[in-house]
């Protein structure tokens, strides 16, 4: 596989076109990822410079730390509360929107509106909704006889509050992705099922869900990764509290790096976050994809 002069020339041209992107990826993605791993093996000064080699000390300290364990639990609960409910809700609404009706586009735009809403804006609105004295949420609960909690001040409900906010924020994306999945299902399949006597719930579980399983699978991966990266909701709603109940992995990275200035220790957590995202992507592709129906 020697290089002729022509090979070198065409490579030079191609590389020239790729150069701007490659330069930026190198400076802001590849090298930083390497540096995160590197920093995680060192003790660092509060300004960020590595001082002495620590080996896996940061990692053993991490595994022994109470904070890290509660962080993992919080991350797990947050994912569990957010992703399945968000996708299920999105599917129901997408089925509702997948009708040929006059003016359907107005409803589609309204329900997709949260796509455009930033996490900061959404969090501020939910902060008001969940306010125990001014907010409507507890008031509406009280009307049906439920004593609403002080959502953000109790560890068990704070994570639910953050999850509800996140479900709302991702709902628009989920609806749009599932709606386009539904629109790809040929009408004949529904016709055939109808002739076989399928109706309502049965039609939904036997035909609709399997037919949009590629979209469901896609959202499972994308939403889980998005939840693992969610920072804004936590920062605005709870700041990781109360008593660390919402101190998810990303928030731990933030606190240890930019509040406690332990860059090495925080980098070890960032590496764990990276590995988690990587592993989830691989596992979901290998195991879930097999059960997914593709046309």
């Amino acid at each position: 596989m020697g290089w002729t002069r022509r090979d070198a020339r065409s490579f030079g041209v191609g590389a020239g076109y790729l150069a701007p992107s490659l330069f930026l990826f190198t400076v802001f993605v590849f090298v930083p990822l390497g540096r995160t791993i590197y920093l995680s093996l060192f003790n660092t000064r509060s300004t960020g410079e590595p001082t002495s080699f620590a080996g896996v000390d940061n990692y053993t300290e991490l595994l022994a730390s109470e904070n890290f364990r509660t962080g993992l639990v919080a991350t797990g609960l947050f994912t569990l509360y957010t992703v399945p409910v968000g996708i299920a809700l999105g599917l129901v609404l997408a089925v509702l929107l997948n009708q040929r009706l006059r003016g359907i586009n107005v409803f589609r735009t309204m329900m997709a509106s949260t796509i455009a809403i930033s996490a900061a804006v959404g969090s501020l609105i939910w902060l008001l909704l969940l306010n125990p004295s001014l907010g409507l949420f507890d008031y509406l609960l009280s009307r049906i006889g439920i004593q609403g909690p002080d959502w953000l001040l109790q560890p068990s409900t704070a994570i639910i509050a953050v999850s509800m906010t996140t479900i709302w924020l991702t709902l628009g994306t989920n609806i749009i992705v599932l709606l386009s999945g539904l629109q790809g299902v040929p009408e004949e399949i529904y016709e055939a099922a109808r002739l076989d006597g399928a109706r309502g719930i049965r039609m939904f579980t036997r035909i609709t869900v399997p037919m949009v399983s590629p979209s469901l699978f896609f959202l499972l991966v994308v939403d889980t990764i998005a939840v693992l990266q969610a920072f804004t909701q936590i920062h605005i709603l709870t700041r990781g509290g109360p008593v660390d109940s919402t101190r998810v992995l990303v928030y731990g990275v933030y606190l240890d790096a930019f509040v406690n200035f332990q860059f090495g220790y925080a980098s070890a957590q960032a590496v764990v976050l990276f590995l988690l995202v990587l592993a989830l992507t691989i596992i979901q592709f290998r195991f879930v994809e097999r059960r997914v129906h593709y046309q």
Partner: protein, 268 residues
């Protein structure tokens, strides 16, 4: 049956959009009205006082300007870098092309949060804290955008390329005069997507801006939450002012945005 469908759709749409509608309603109420019980939904005497107060409390005009400058810079940067790269990945043939494409795609598996510490240290060491460059430059390359543009470029007939070659047009000339104009819809998708995700950023601008005047909209309005007395009418007016540009973008560019999302986008 039809009536029932419309009823269901209306109820569902109102429930989904409810938080947003409520923010709008509260932005038009006085603080004393907001404090009444039971919590009000419709303003008794709608007025724009809260909006005026936002201007007095925070430099919201400057925040909007900052956000627009940074988001526009990112969009322009992404369109240039992604067009060039997608062009190489679709029309040019050279060694290691597929390996390099894979390298591009691999950046999608690396969460930005996993690299945020070194990136912060880099930006600080080159003196880009509190600067537009620091806010924009790290996001000017996009693997997702490159992927999307490559798909669009591959739809362009090869005959055009052959004809241009015979006419003696240079490689770069063909990109500018033929490929870019034909791929306008895909470029629109990349632009809208890039603008929205930059405008809505929170973590990065929070980290690298300390001066009030360099803050972006998202960080700026979130500061209202940490004031000593929370004035909800004021916060909601700020929220609406910040959300209006992105909602307008959603209405105007819905088709492009949907194309981007269904092609496999991730909300950052």
């Amino acid at each position: 049956m039809k009536v029932l469908n419309y009823l269901l759709l209306t109820v569902a749409a109102i429930v989904v959009a409810f938080p947003l509608l409520l923010a709008l309603a509260y932005s038009l109420m006085s603080e004393s009205e907001i404090a009444t019980f039971p919590p009000p939904i419709f303003p008794q005497a709608p007025n724009l006082d809260n909006y005026g107060r936002v201007f007095e409390t925070i430099p919201i005009g400057r925040y909007l300007l900052n956000s627009f400058v940074v988001s526009t810079a990112v969009v322009v940067g992404q369109l240039i870098t992604a067009s060039l790269a997608a062009y190489a990945f679709s029309f040019l043939t050279f060694r290691w092309r597929d390996a390099l494409f894979f390298l591009f795609l691999s950046t999608l598996m690396i969460p930005w949060e996993a690299t945020i510490i070194p990136n912060y240290l880099t930006i600080r060491s080159i003196g880009w804290l509190d600067s537009y460059q620091g806010l924009a430059v790290p996001f000017m390359a996009t693997a997702f955008g490159t992927f999307l543009l490559r798909q669009a470029f591959l739809q362009i007939p090869r005959e055009l390329w052959d004809a241009a070659r015979i006419d003696g047009a240079s490689t770069f000339r063909f990109l500018v005069s033929t490929v870019i104009p034909l791929a306008r819809p895909a470029l629109g998708t990349v632009a809208i997507y890039g603008f929205l995700s930059t405008y809505n950023q929170y973590f990065w601008p929070l980290l690298i801006t300390n001066q009030t005047l360099m803050r972006t909209t998202q960080v700026g309005i979130a500061q209202l939450r940490f004031e000593e007395t929370l004035r909800w009418g004021l916060v909601m007016a700020g929220v609406i002012m910040v959300a209006v540009p992105t909602l307008a973008l959603l209405v105007l560019g819905q088709r492009q945005l949907i194309r981007g999302l269904t092609a496999g986008a991730v909300k950052g």
